[in-house]
Symmetry: C2
Subunit: 302 residues, 2 copies
């Protein structure tokens, strides 16, 4: 466990507000509003923006217009605009919308896998194989998500070994990185540390990211733990967009502004400009007619 | 910097909601409502509840009825019901209301001291001397607060040495403990660590507490830092009562529920029951007609 004098000096922030955030917001956004959000985020210095999802609109109506969104954004060089693709059909749609990268969504929990994507963990890997094969041919990088790494809404405790197994499988199948999701935000620093220590005993930190939901207010403390274990990629959502389908009234992802505030003040580089980001967060919160879930945003834009 | 396997095994939570929390809430509470809040808190296992403040009602009207509150609560053995006393007059009032302990409020920032209590740091120490002398005679323990330990709304940066000097002075004058206040919540783990390392080089951890405001969402990460440095007393406010007079729309103290959730899940004992506390937080949020600022509370009582 590293001292603060020995933390990663540079951190990658993966902005997931336009996907993981918006898909959990009540008010749907128009294509124009989503494009505007992503275009504004593109000017903050962020280098990876998850911009949509090619799941069935039956399940996630908020993401129905992802193809139009990806086609209409003003792309900037050096920014990766990615999209979630649950299967080969989704992958083809993402590819024709020119997604720079795609993401597949697996789970460390059998029950969650069944409820969320209607198949076992093993079956999900089979399903992803075709996506990974095509993406390899097309030279499109694939990011893996693993959900429920610190707990499951159906099973409760999830063993670190189960997380290790699915993470390792995704990496071996060709994912360039696996984002470890505390999907329901139940993780605390001790458990987060124990999980990371097991994973990092055999996986390089450059292949892992942390995706912390702030359902119980623990996200930033868990990210600090991640930094102390050597993790340097973190998912976050501008103005804390999103929520938790398993806890009504709960918060979404860690707010990008709050994460950035901590990193800036610990002299950790990200390339992202906080004041620009605060403006984007205030604007999207206003548009969605919701309270700004970033505490930094709420304090500085009041 | 301690590993999580070597953190304090038992933590004291000092509940400051009825004082630091309520004095920053817009809606004033009746005496009955305050008594009810404190009586409910008394049943959660908390052992120290800051229950009022004997400052001039001209400055803090929300605390005007502290004497009645302290007289009407149902006292439990083993719980310390304390009150803030800015001067000898306040001390006499607290004493006649049977406060079990009193607290004095100093600052590490000259500018904040002038604006907040209208005198220099040195003058404030003089003023506190008479309180400490009488309290010693009366056998009433005195807690010291130091504000602005990680930054000041007027001066910005505050040197760790300035914090050390005032902390040491208060301890030498007879305070049993000094609560280090990140009054405007600007602290981040690196700075918090640097401050604590200086203080702990000459002061025992048993004489220090951390008082973190969550203005910028950093409070729990700073508390984790405190634990890693060996601190084992933390101030917190049920349902995150309060706000920040220096940032409209900002959060108050760290919510006691969110702190407790982390400690419980890291196997650190507090003696406080989370589910009882969540009920108190939901009830007071409802009474104040405000959103529950505890993320744990919001997620679990929706």
């Amino acid at each position: 466990m590293r001292d603060y004098t020995d933390l990663p000096q540079k951190v990658n922030i993966i902005e997931v507000g336009p996907r993981d955030g918006l898909q959990n917001e009540k008010s749907p956004l128009t294509i124009e509003d989503k494009v505007d959000l992503i275009d504004r985020l593109s000017k903050t210095g962020l280098q990876h923006i998850e911009s949509g999802s090619f799941v069935s609109p039956k399940w996630v109506p908020q993401m129905a217009n992802s193809d139009q969104v990806l086609k209409q954004i003003k792309r900037k060089k050096n920014i990766t605009y990615s999209a979630l693709t649950p299967n080969l059909k989704g992958y083809h749609l993402a590819k024709s919308a020119n997604a720079d990268a795609v993401a597949i969504f697996a789970s460390a929990s059998e029950s969650f896998s069944h409820k969320n994507i209607n198949c076992s963990i093993a079956e999900s890997l089979k399903r992803f194989e075709s996506v990974l094969n095509e993406a390899k041919r097309d030279n499109i990088p694939v990011r893996g998500y693993v959900s429920c790494v610190l707990g499951c809404p159906y099973e409760g405790e999830i063993s670190a070994q189960a997380v290790f197994d699915i993470t390792q499988a995704l990496l071996q199948m060709g994912c360039y990185e696996v984002s470890l999701g505390d999907t329901i935000g139940v993780g605390t620093p001790l458990k987060c540390k124990q999980l990371l220590q097991l994973l990092l005993s055999q996986i390089d930190a450059s292949r892992l990211a942390l995706h912390c939901h702030d359902t119980y207010g623990q996200a930033l403390a868990n990210i600090l733990t991640g930094l102390q274990e050597g993790i340097f990629s973190f998912d976050a959502s501008v103005s804390g967009l999103g929520g938790c389908p398993y806890a009504k009234g709960a918060s979404g992802n860690i707010a990008t502004e709050d994460l950035l505030y901590m990193l800036n003040n610990m002299n950790i580089e990200t390339g992202v400009d906080l004041s620009s980001l605060i403006k984007v967060g205030a604007s999207i919160s206003h548009k969605l007619n919701r309270k700004n879930q970033s505490k930094v945003g709420a304090a500085l834009s009041a």
